[in-house]
Amino acid sequence: MADQLSTRRILPRGHRPAAGRRAATDRRLGYALVAPAVIVLLAITAYPIVANVWNSFHFDNLSFGALPHRFVGVDNYGKMFSSAQWLAALERTLGFTVVTIVVDIAAALGLAVMLNRKFVGRGVVRASILVPWAVPTVVSALLWKTMFDPRAGFVDYFLGGIHPAWSSLTWLNASVWRSWAVIFIADSWKNIPFVAIILLAGLQVIPTEVYEAARIDGATGWRAFRRVTLPLLKPALVVALIFRTLQALLVFDVVFIMTGGGPGTSTETLSFFNFFTFIDSTDFGYGGAISVVLVLLALIVAGGYVRLFRTDQT
């Protein structure tokens, strides 16, 4: 920096060394190269959040198009926090998230440990778990909807072989718990592989010498896994936890396609409720308030994990 300034002062224009000139144009060029990506992302994320905050303090419902967008203070937030439907959706979403994290991380850890071993057919196993991750959510949702259909699916067909009364169980939109079970299965089937791939990458960067050292110290099997593998896997676990928690917290399309929130409203999640408020009720003020809280919730979760694991390490 200082170098550049001094040469600029001494040398007349056009006689600056190429390197200095390059550094100056480089910086401008650098920002120009970053600009398109940043502008696109600002337009589709920053603009909506600002607009949501603004809308959330206003009355803005397209169904009452003639009414002015008047300022209503925190009325939308008050309505939300006292809404039984929103509170129930919050409770369900948090419950779903906790169960999902516990089960999915455990299953993914098992898968990752399996794939970390060299064995005949490892490529086949890895390719086959990638397929459920890569197909659209629409596919995973409709696929499991077919599987759990009493007529078209195999679940009741096989269950009927165990016990005749189970041959025509209705799963979706009949019982609350069975509906949740099917949603959970479809969602986990699709998302466990991604978590497993991240954890696998974490396992692969642990040097084998560490295990050898542990074995010399007498730690093998489960002890070695708990004392050696898990602590070293922490960075990968943080990444996996953040991804999976946010996904579960924002779950929408599986629910929309499989149950449409039913039976009744018993599988409505926060994102589903927000979608309904925007698109069906066209209430952009109230919906804005719900969105703002959704973003805050996501930020708290992500920030919480980062903080939790950072203080743990020092």
Binding site: L33, V40, I44, Y47, P48, M114, A134, V135, S271, V292
Partner: protein
């Protein structure tokens, strides 16, 4: 130690060794059994979808059992002809291809420019810019649809696939930029410095030297972008209204619904068709996808 003692010690060790090797064999068998179960859980549903899609509507109505068991007694392509002839599935398929390809091109170009600048040009505030791009990937899609719905409505582009190209960048841009930034960082600096010394400009260097070396990284980014854009449901269901403007995932949800019965053969035929390009990408580029997903995610 006399000969008898050595012999008896050897005899005692043999069964112990045999027991250990048997235990090892049992453990190996269990391991392979577990691996087989994983593959079965991942793939059996796809077999079932294919099987259902090859049933006639009458077979679906009759339910599983008898001649329609796990292996169907009779195959029919009626579901496939029905979704193309009666449900006009080709239009949403073409819409999806257009949007996914356009998103991929847009993301790969802007993402590699940004990734290059962030990797090589010592931008002031580069860390903050990268943090913003990555954070955008965690932004709740549902918090985007309200204001974007109003904006597209005011611009008269609400029921159109073209704004989706921009919106899908929220899925594709963060991972692409991150992946390519890591990729550019691994290319030796000497390569471009040689070109710069030879008098090439930055952009010329980028085009002639860096991009050819970066082709594998760009390719990985393109595959991931295509998958992510192809898979969207949330934005399509929020913004699109007319059947002929639907993307493929959205149009499937409206298939096979009749008042009395759901025709799973129609739904599953469409499910098979939209899964095929994704399954092919996974099979052909398995390694690339895995390395792309995990590119320097924790260092």
């Amino acid at each position: 130690m006399n000969a008898a003692a050595v012999a008896s010690a050897g005899a005692a060790a043999r069964p112990r060794r045999r027991a250990r090797s048997r235990r090892k064999a049992v453990r190996e068998t269990l391991f392979y059994l577990a691996a087989a179960i994983v593959v079965l859980i991942a793939l059996f549903p796809f077999y079932w979808i294919l099987r259902t899609s090859l049933e006639s509507s009458a077979q679906v109505a009759a339910g599983v059992g008898g001649r329609n068991g796990v292996i169907p007694g009779h195959l029919s392509f009626s579901a496939y002809t029905a979704i193309f002839r009666q449900q006009h599935f080709l239009t949403p398929l073409i819409n999806s291809v257009i949007v996914a390809l356009a998103t991929t091109v847009l993301t790969v170009i802007t993402g590699s420019l940004a990734g290059y600048a962030l990797a090589r040009m010592n931008l002031r505030g580069g860390g903050a810019i990268l943090a913003f791009i990555l954070l955008a990937g965690f932004f709740p899609p549902l918090a985007m649809i309200g204001p974007l719905f109003l904006l597209f409505r005011d611009l008269g582009i609400l029921d159109s696939i073209y704004p989706l190209i921009l919106v899908y960048c929220v899925y594709t841009m963060p991972i692409t930029t991150w992946l390519l930034k890591n990729f550019f960082e691994q290319i030796p600096r000497e390569l471009e410095e040689a070109a710069l010394v030879d008098g090439a400009s930055r952009l010329q260097t980028l085009r002639r030297v860096i991009i050819p070396v970066a082709v594998p990284g760009v390719f990985t980014a393109a595959i991931l972008s295509f998958i992510l854009a192809w898979n969207d449901f949330i934005f399509a269901v929020s913004f699109l209204r007319t059947q002929s403007n639907f993307t493929a995932p959205l149009s499937i949800v409206t298939f096979g619904e009749s008042q009395f019965q759901v025709f799973y053969n129609l739904i599953d035929a469409a499910v098979v068709i939209i899964s095929i390009p994704i399954a092919l990408l996974v099979l052909l580029a398995q390694r690339r996808i895995v390395s792309g997903l995990t590119a320097g995610s924790f260092r």
